[in-house]
Each structure stands twice: as structure tokens, then as C-alpha cells.
Symmetry: C2
Subunit: 408 residues, 2 copies
């Protein structure tokens, strides 16, 4: 058998999009996965939210999210054309809301940070909020619009990518890859989500998310059109309306590796969802499910060759951002496969930023999220974010941000 | 083909138990059902609660519930022996609790009524309550013990009854019965739950119930042993612990005929359940399901011949009481088949208490729950209960009850 040019391990959105982009450049591509689309994407809501998800201490990640979101309109159009199927791409924008005064204060602090980055966030008066979405609870105290934060349906995206990749000549091999030596290719791309840890030793860990799917009664569309992201009595939830009546309500973020659905999580999600949008009370609850996001110590993906293995490229660790990062990941990894030269945009996201610690105890105390993954202990060599402890929060006031304009 | 002695329409617990009891008396029995056990029993919790469910205005129904519950120990033992399978019969008793002061006041009014009937209800001090079930929330204000209210697992009961009926010689015919003329037998017993309306014209209507199944994490038994029935901020719920770790949390009572699971119902059930037993937060939510109880205008079952059709016996309309009423229904219907003479105990539950109204407007105003079922309008000729409007509540003080002692 002729050796293939590219072997992609993992047929989620990331792996399939890479396969598609490589195949349309004329490369021979195989995608290895016994169960395509059965990982995090089968559970994901599909928000394309670089603005609403621009968090303190994750500036470089935000840059990548913004760059990828900017590619989504073209990517969606090309994919719809190439596959002949709809993918549920919607551009009504995202409303960010706060239920109580405390919720609004927390939200406003983040909106100010996002505005300081030059991202498009428009605070709305309560009357403007209700003009846009009359279904919001009267209790909702305030909100802001992120008009460029869109959505896509991951359960439509994966079949569309499969079709597009297949039409471009990529071949699906429905077999599991248990070690890198199982595949023989010029370049191997590991896009195996949480499975990348066992294949590569990279510090990718499962981050559990529980999520609900509701459906408007009577087969009608939901009574709201924007993606709603809300703070409700301290609970952070989002509500994603689909044209077919589905509403995705999520999600927990748990340092657990099981996929059980728990009573407490369902209760918290439903309570917050109904508090923000009372009409959800009447909706059918059609699914409650948990998935595992591929998390990394600094919440950013790992995009590039394994240290000492230029023939093995990682494209994993996308955590909560796999769908929005699909276009740029596919484009930049395909570039890398073709040219051998990494785009400077990928520099902060190299696999080399995580070094295997030669002894225990170094670094972990300062980075409590580094953790012990797949039996090996890692310390962080250089973070992709700009804070010493990503996610720990920016204690300076939002008015003091000096970030450049990310959106322009 | 030889005409069979008894054709039972419906292979739920009622139909199967009747078939079993008839078969062990030497009758040739056929049970017709394309999907045995797929009705209300597949959803039911299996509480055997004549005491906790003794409501104002339903004295004769309570007498029947008490009489049937008294048969359960022997019935369970005989069925376990005859089928060779366990049915999850447990006798730890039921704790009735109130979360808030208002809940407790509502509960105490009912407990006083139940005590006035001579039913075994023992009020407990908070310390006694917590001694019995330390998992109860500290907020729970008070409670009472109904030691004779037990439980069984309907999902074990139905297979056991199938086996017992089969071993006794009954034959299952996996075909639907669309009209009474589809079967040819000496006696036809209609035990078709909600399906009885279309077959007989009796005023049996679907009453929707939504119910959850949780499971203690780690495969252990739940952290409580009693059935818990609680009032929690005005919400009435029950929690039924099984030995295998399952907890059944129910149930809504809705005048609807669909079987959708709604977000609002799941939220209300979980909130009340967690308020009463905080450890449920950590439980897995393994099932959310809705079923349709066969309700009647006076909430009591219909047990006896159709008017003018002595060869057709109804055994339906058991509403929320099908499991507890299974032994006495089976015994008395089998007696009736054998002897042709109805037991006096059945007198209040005859089909003849519902007469087809010759004109609209008679009776319905006084009995708003009579409703319009299967396209025909019924008025009530003589109620099985003792109140003019069953379920409307007893406005006399509990101390004034003059009911005889039902328990002795």
C-alpha cells in the first residue's frame, strides 16, 4: 500500500476540517476514527463567541478566537457549498445579560475589559434589551450586545465536514489508533481531543461539561433569536436557539472525567435558564448529556509539532473553543503540512510550551491547573496567555486596560 | 380453536394479576397486549401508600386501598415464590415531611384527617425524624411516620407477574384489541388502562405524570431507607429508594394526554427533591419520563360488569393507585369471573355509577372533573366517594371527623 501523505487521528470537527483543507490542496489524506463526531463536538453548543469568551488573562487566546471567528462566514459558505448541506450558521449575535444587580456588576466588569480590547460590545438599556428579546424575564437587570458572536450547529457541522472531506478525496479509516506507530504517513496530525494525552504525552485533560437540549412545544421556533449568555444568581449559562425549535442550555465546567448527568447540574442549569427566559418552563426537555472537553493547563489549544517530532503535529486541547477555532486550526495546520513552516500566529500555542518536568514539585504549586495527566507530571514552560495564572482574574480595574484593539 | 374462558385485555400489573389468579383457579386465560407492561406501570414509582394517600373526600377509595395494602405481604410472598424472581417489596415504611412552616401546617391537617380514620400515622419530633433519616435537610420542619405504607418495584413486578401467569397456564397473545368483538371468550376483562375508554366508552381519561429516576453515585444504596413523601414550598413530591441505588422522584399530576418531559416539571421535581434531601444533588439523573394514568371522574377505579354486558368486566381507572390495588383487584375480579356474584366491597366501584348523559349540562357543573372523554360526555350518577366533589377538600376541622377506624 502506498504511504499516505497525511494521517489525521480523530474525526471531530478539527480533524475533519484539517483533512478537508489538506485534501483540497491535493494531498492524500486518511482520517482515523472508529466513531467520527462522537467526542466533545457531539455535545457542544456551537457558539462562535470570541467576544463573550474574551476572559481576563487570555489575551493571546482571544486573538486566536477573533481571527478564527473572522474566518467563519467564508468557511461556512464554502463548507455549505462543498457539502451541499446546511450547518445551522446563524448571525443574529449574542446578548449577554445579568439577572440580579450582583450579576450585572460582574458582567459589566467583563464587558469593560472586552471593550478595552476593542471588541464590539454594546451595552443596552433594559428597554433596548427587551425590544431585542421580549422573552427575557422582567427580572433581568441589564445586558449588552456582542453582534459578531454567532453560532453553528455542531451536529450538522460534523456530517458536512465528513462529506466535504470525502468529496475532496480524504479517506475515513474507521479504526482506532492506539499509538502513533499504528499509522504510517508523511505527516501525522493528532486531532484526537482528550485522546491526545495517551498518544502524545501532552497535558490534555478531560474537562466535563453537562448540557441540556430543550425543544419549543408545538414544533415552532424558540421565542428568542439571539444566543443568550447570562449570569443568573451567580450561575453562568448560555441559551442557543436553533431554527428547528431546539434550544441548547449549558454548561457546567467540571474537573471530572466521567460522563454522568447529575441531578444537581440539571437543576442548576434549568433554574438559571428559566430565571432568564421563563418560557423555557413549557419547553420539552429532550436531552441531558455530558461530554469531555480537551483542556490544557492554560486553556489554549496545542497547535504544532511535538518536540523532536516534526512529522507529528498536534491539533488538540481546544477546550471550550473547538468549534470557533475549527477554521483557523484547519487552515494553519494545512499550511504547516504543506510548507513545513509554522505561521507566526501559532507561536504562542506550540506543544513546546509544555515541558515534561524532570522532577515533581516544580511549577505545579504556582499553576494549580497543571495537574497530573495520563500518568505523567508536567510543568508549564511558557504560558500562551499573558497572566502568571490564566483564569485567576485581572485585579486591575477595567478602565486601566492597555490592550491593543483586537477587533480592528 | 376452542373458545377460551377468560380474555384479559391489557398486560399491565392489573391484567396480568387477574390472569394469574384466574389461571390458578383452573380457567383457560388469554391476555391480549402487543406491549406488556408498557403503560402506566412502566413509569410508576410503586408506592403502596393507602395511609399517605388517604385524602379528604375519598373515604371509600381509602377503604379499598387499605384492604388491598393488607393483602400485599401475602401477595408479594406468593408471587415471589410462583415466579422465582424478586419484586423489590420493601417494608421500611413511609416518612411524610414538611419543609417549611406552611408545608408542615398543610401536612398536619392531612395527618389529623388520616389519624381520624384510625390509620397508623405517628407524628415525629424533628430529632426523631433525623434519627430515622439523617439525610433529610436540616430545613425540614417536621414529619410523621406511616409504618404500614410500603413499596414495590413495578419494573420487577410486571415480569414476575408475566412469569407467574404463564406458569399457571395463561397465554399471552401479543396482538392489539381494537374493539371488544376482536376477542371471543366466556368473559372479557378490560384491564387496558387509558385504552379502556375507546373499548368501552367508560369515562377513563389520561392523567399525565412526569417522574425522574436518579441513582446514587458509586453503585451504593441511597442514603435513606424510607419512602419520603414531602411538601416542599408547596410542591408535593415523593422519593422512593431502591436497594440497587435507584431513587424514584415524582410526580406531576397534569390534565394532559401527551408524554413529553418538560423543563418546568423536571426543575420543580429536582428543586423539591434536593430541598428535602440535599445529597440528591450528587446523584446521577438517569431517566426522565412521562406516563399516562387512567383517571376517572371520582379518582376511584372501575371494577365490575359494563352496564348491560355481564360478560364484559372492567378493571381499569386505577389512576395513581394501580400498583397498590393490584392484589384486591385481581382477587375480586377473579371471584366475579368464577362466581358471577360481585363482592360487596366492589359496590361503590361499579361501572354503572357513570351514566351517559342524555343531554349536556347536567351534573358537569357540580363535578368539574367529569370532563369530555373519547368524544362522549358523561355525568356521574352516584359517586364512589363520600363528598359531593371528591378532591375538593374537607372543610371541617380534622378533630371533627366521625369516620370509623379503617385500619382495625
Amino acid at each position: 500500500m502506498t504511504r499516505t501523505d497525511v494521517a489525521v487521528v480523530g474525526a471531530g470537527p478539527i480533524g475533519l476540517a484539517i483533512a478537508w483543507r489538506c485534501a483540497i490542496r491535493g494531498l492524500r489524506v486518511e482520517v482515523h476514527d472508529p466513531a467520527p463526531g462522537s467526542g466533545a463536538s457531539a455535545v457542544a453548543a456551537g457558539m462562535l463567541s470570541p467576544v463573550a469568551e474574551a476572559y481576563f488573562g487570555e489575551r493571546r487566546l482571544t486573538e486566536l478566537l477573533v481571527a478564527s471567528a473572522a474566518r467563519w462566514p467564508g468557511f461556512a459558505a464554502e463548507l455549505t457549498e462543498a457539502s451541499g448541506t446546511e450547518i445551522g450558521y446563524r448571525t443574529e449575535g449574542t446578548l449577554m445579560v445579568g439577572l440580579t444587580g450582583d450579576d450585572l456588576a460582574e458582567a459589566r466588569r467583563l464587558w469593560a475589559y472586552q471593550q478595552g480590547l476593542g471588541l464590539p460590545v454594546t451595552p443596552l438599556r433594559p428597554s433596548e434589551l427587551r425590544d431585542r428579546e421580549p422573552a427575557l424575564a422582567p427580572r433581568v437587570r441589564g445586558g449588552a450586545l456582542a453582534p459578531t458572536d454567532h453560532q453553528v450547529d455542531p451536529r450538522l457541522l460534523v456530517p458536512a465536514l465528513r462529506t466535504a472531506a470525502r468529496r475532496a478525496g480524504a479517506v475515513l479509516v474507521p479504526q482506532p489508533v492506539r499509538r502513533l506507530s499504528d499509522v504510517d504517513a508523511g505527516v501525522t496530525v493528532v486531532a484526537a481531543g482528550c485522546g491526545a494525552a495517551a498518544l502524545t504525552g501532552l497535558p490534555v485533560r478531560p474537562v466535563k461539561g453537562q448540557i441540556l437540549r430543550l425543544r419549543a412545544p408545538g414544533g415552532v421556533a424558540p421565542g428568542f433569536r439571539h444566543v443568550i449568555r447570562g449570569y443568573a444568581d451567580g450561575e453562568h449559562v448560555y441559551l442557543v436557539p436553533r431554527a428547528d425549535g431546539e434550544v441548547v442550555l449549558g454548561a457546567t465546567v467540571e474537573e471530572r472525567a466521567d460522563t454522568s448527568v447529575t441531578a444537581g447540574a440539571v437543576l442548576r442549569l434549568l433554574r438559571a435558564g428559566v430565571d432568564l427566559l421563563p418560557e423555557l418552563t413549557e419547553y420539552d426537555l429532550v436531552e441531558a448529556v455530558a461530554g469531555l472537553r480537551p483542556g490544557t493547563p492554560d486553556n489554549a489549544p496545542i497547535l504544532g509539532p511535538l518536540p523532536g517530532r516534526p512529522d507529528v503535529l498536534a491539533a488538540t486541547g481546544h477546550h471550550r473553543h473547538g468549534i470557533v477555532l475549527t477554521p483557523i486550526t484547519a487552515e494553519k495546520i494545512a499550511d504547516l503540512v504543506t510548507t513545513g513552516v509554522p505561521d507566526p500566529l501559532l507561536a504562542p500555542f506550540g506543544a513546546d510550551r509544555f515541558a515534561v518536568a524532570s522532577s515533581t514539585g516544580t511549577g505545579d504549586a504556582a499553576r494549580p491547573d497543571a495537574g497530573d495527566v495520563s500518568g505523567r507530571r508536567f510543568a508549564v514552560a511558557s504560558p500562551a496567555g499573558d497572566a502568571a495564572r490564566p483564569g485567576a482574574g485581572d485585579v486591575s480595574g477595567p478602565g486601566r486596560t492597555t490592550e491593543e484593539d483586537l477587533w480592528s
